[in-house]
């Protein structure tokens, strides 16, 4: 019967082409608008590391105390988003997690070997060797530096494929050296393209950016007095003037992540952090009880409000728009079906059951939904193109259609239209078979 109903639906839609076009256009425009914003929303709301997002935890420690009121962003939990160097060293030395890393964003001027070329600026992430296995970065050549390199402040770097192409013209560059601010660094690994979006591990700097081009040992960057190029927040003890003073201050500028694969390890790490903060209180550094927090990747992204208000507003607006479009299509379907009440009455007299009429009309709504969905897909592509021309480069990175979005668009269109078609269809099924006789 499905193919019969499908044929009837197509025939009926062809019959009243203006009404049909209006319905499909309404559904299509609604789907186009809502899918355009949903695509951006989904890119922002993306889980950047789905296989491990429940095992990676951002660490927060209150090192400013309840008296302090100058926390940027006015966090209700009065926790800083980053930690101080003192705590970074404390937590790294404790080694209480399966893996843990401290890191910060810095940068340098890279002088190419070819003296004809001008030096250029590079973004650097100073971190520990465990960064790579923790975040499962793909290597094109070589690999992470060793734990000994971390210990020895070694002059080693991991570079991205893009930088490798730019500086060495591609190829396996492991063992070659690059010059950063007049110091030579040995390349130990080249990363294949890796750009988690959002850049969950450092949301203060470039949430949707391209990330660092060079990774180097945290110890080496600190030893070389390479200052933070990212967000710094200072309060309370801002330290003595100079680099050493900064390292001993309560300024927060370091991101700290722990890998905790099991529930037991998570609980143990929570306990450890609390003990650590209590120890700081006992030693007189903190004048307040322990206040610490760990959050996995999804919790961290939610806490940091990664999906911007603008996108939330747009999603809200566009889905309300979709609702209007569906109400519209519903009105038109109702008009169409009531205009056909005569035919429906005849069909009923000829033996069509209520469910047969119901099925026939619902399939017609589904066909409208399908056509609207296809139109909506085209409009979404157009809408995303429009967004790319309107928005900044960073925001434009969020305007790419994934295969999942195509499925969502079609399913949403068919489901929503069928849902909107339920009432008109119900009305159609209520048409009495005697209608024809009575109407005379």
């Amino acid at each position: 019967m499905f193919s019969y109903y499908f044929g009837l639906a197509v025939r009926s839609l062809k019959r009243n082409i203006v009404l049909t076009v209006l319905m499909i256009a309404a559904v299509g425009v609604g789907i186009g608008a809502s899918m355009t914003t949903l695509t951006v929303f989904r890119a922002m709301d993306n889980d950047p590391i789905p296989q491990k997002s429940r095992q990676l935890f951002a660490v927060q420690i209150d090192n400013w105390g309840p008296e302090n009121k100058s926390i940027a962003g006015g966090d209700k939990e009065r926790l800083q988003e980053q930690i101080s160097y003192i705590d970074a060293v404390g937590l790294m030395n404790a080694k209480s997690a399966h893996r843990q890393i401290a890191m910060y964003k810095t940068g340098a001027a890279l002088t190419p070997v070819n003296a004809q070329l001008l030096p250029f600026q590079v973004q650097i992430r100073a971190t520990y060797t465990d960064f790579f296995p923790m975040f499962q970065t793909p290597f094109l050549a070589g690999g992470p530096w060793s734990a000994d390199d971390d210990k020895n402040h070694a002059d080693v770097v991991v570079i991205t494929q893009k930088l490798n192409d730019k500086v060495f013209g591609g190829g396996n560059s492991v063992g070659k050296s690059i010059n950063l601010d007049n110091h030579d660094f040995r390349v130990v690994g080249v990363l294949r393209f890796w750009q988690p979006t959002p850049q969950f591990y450092d949301l203060n700097n470039d949430q949707f950016g391209e990330g660092a081009e060079i990774y180097m040992p945290f110890t080496r960057a600190i030893g070389g007095q390479m200052g933070s190029w990212g967000n710094n927040n200072c309060s309370g003890n801002v330290g003595e003037p100079g680099w050493e003073g900064r390292l001993h201050s309560e300024c927060v500028w370091i991101q700290f992540w722990a890998e905790l694969p099991t529930e037991a390890e998570v609980a143990a790490y929570r306990a450890f952090l609390n003990n650590y903060a209590s120890d700081q209180q006992r030693s007189g550094r903190f004048h307040w009880p322990a206040h610490t927090k760990i959050r996995d990747v999804r919790e961290w992204l939610a806490y940091r409000h990664v999906v911007s208000d603008e996108v939330r507003i747009l999603v809200l607006v566009s889905f309300s728009f979709l609702l209007v479009c569906l109400l519209n299509a519903m009105g038109l379907m109702l008009a169409k079906i009531m205009g056909r009440a005569g035919d429906i009455g005849v069909r009923r007299a000829l033996g069509a059951s209520r469910s047969a009429i119901f099925g026939q009309c619902l399939i017609e709504a589904g066909v409208v939904g399908l056509a609207g969905g296809l139109l909506g897909l085209a409009l979404t592509a157009l809408g995303l193109m429009g967004l790319r021309s309107l928005l900044s480069e960073e925001a434009s990175r969020l305007t790419h259609f994934s295969p999942a979005d195509i499925t969502i668009a079609i399913v949403l269109a068919v489901l929503a239209t069928t849902l909107a078609g339920l009432y008109p269809t119900w009305r159609a099924a209520q048409v009495q078979p005697a209608w024809q006789l009575k109407a005379q």
Binding site: M1, Y4, R11, S12, R15, G342, D343, G345, V346, R347, R348, A349, L350, G351, A352, S353, R354, S355, A356, Q432, P433, A434, Q436, L437, K438, Q440
Partner: protein, 235 residues
Amino acid sequence: MLKMTHLSKAYRTEVVETYALRDFSIHVREGEFVAVTGPSGSGKTTFLTIAGLLEEFSGGEYQLDGANVRGLNDNQRSRLRNEKIGFIFQAFNLIADLNVQDNIDVPLRYRGFNAAERRRRIQEALGRVGLSARSRHYPAELSGGQQQRVAIARALAGSPRLLLADEPTGNLDTQMARGVLDLLEELHRDGATIVMVTHDPELAVRAQREVHIVDGQVVDLAAQPRLVATANANT
């Protein structure tokens, strides 16, 4: 074939209850051609809608082809209607969007016949009404008489046990009406059971038997000689 005993049908509005049929009894045997007549508002159409399982009735019994139809649900009634009854309407009620063969196809689809069976039945029905050449025409391209013949073909295609005709010639001119009536008589000769509702006494006499309804009840025609006489006078 069709047997109603003490059947009643009430229409309820907020204030009053009016009976369209009251203590209504009729028996149509297999192979009969019965005309149901009566003045406007007498309950003819109500009788037809109930006989055709288009509406439920309030009281009494109705047996169709030996089966009691009282209390059947909508689906069961749709099924019975589809299998046992063929309708011929005054306004033809062809579906304008569908061509001739697709119109005839409608009840066959709901019957669940396969494609070959449906094709065979459509051809046969069209052959019987003499419109084989018009199978791809749309209703709007046919004359009124042709449209009614298509409607008859549609009613016949499912081999119903009972044909119900409601003023089948009401929308046709005399010549076309004659053709349609000839066709009905021919069907009757071939064994079809036909119940025809009409207000036209001239038509009624072509039937084997006439049942007259007044105020929702069957009236003995013998007691109403003048009506018949008038009808005869008009012939």
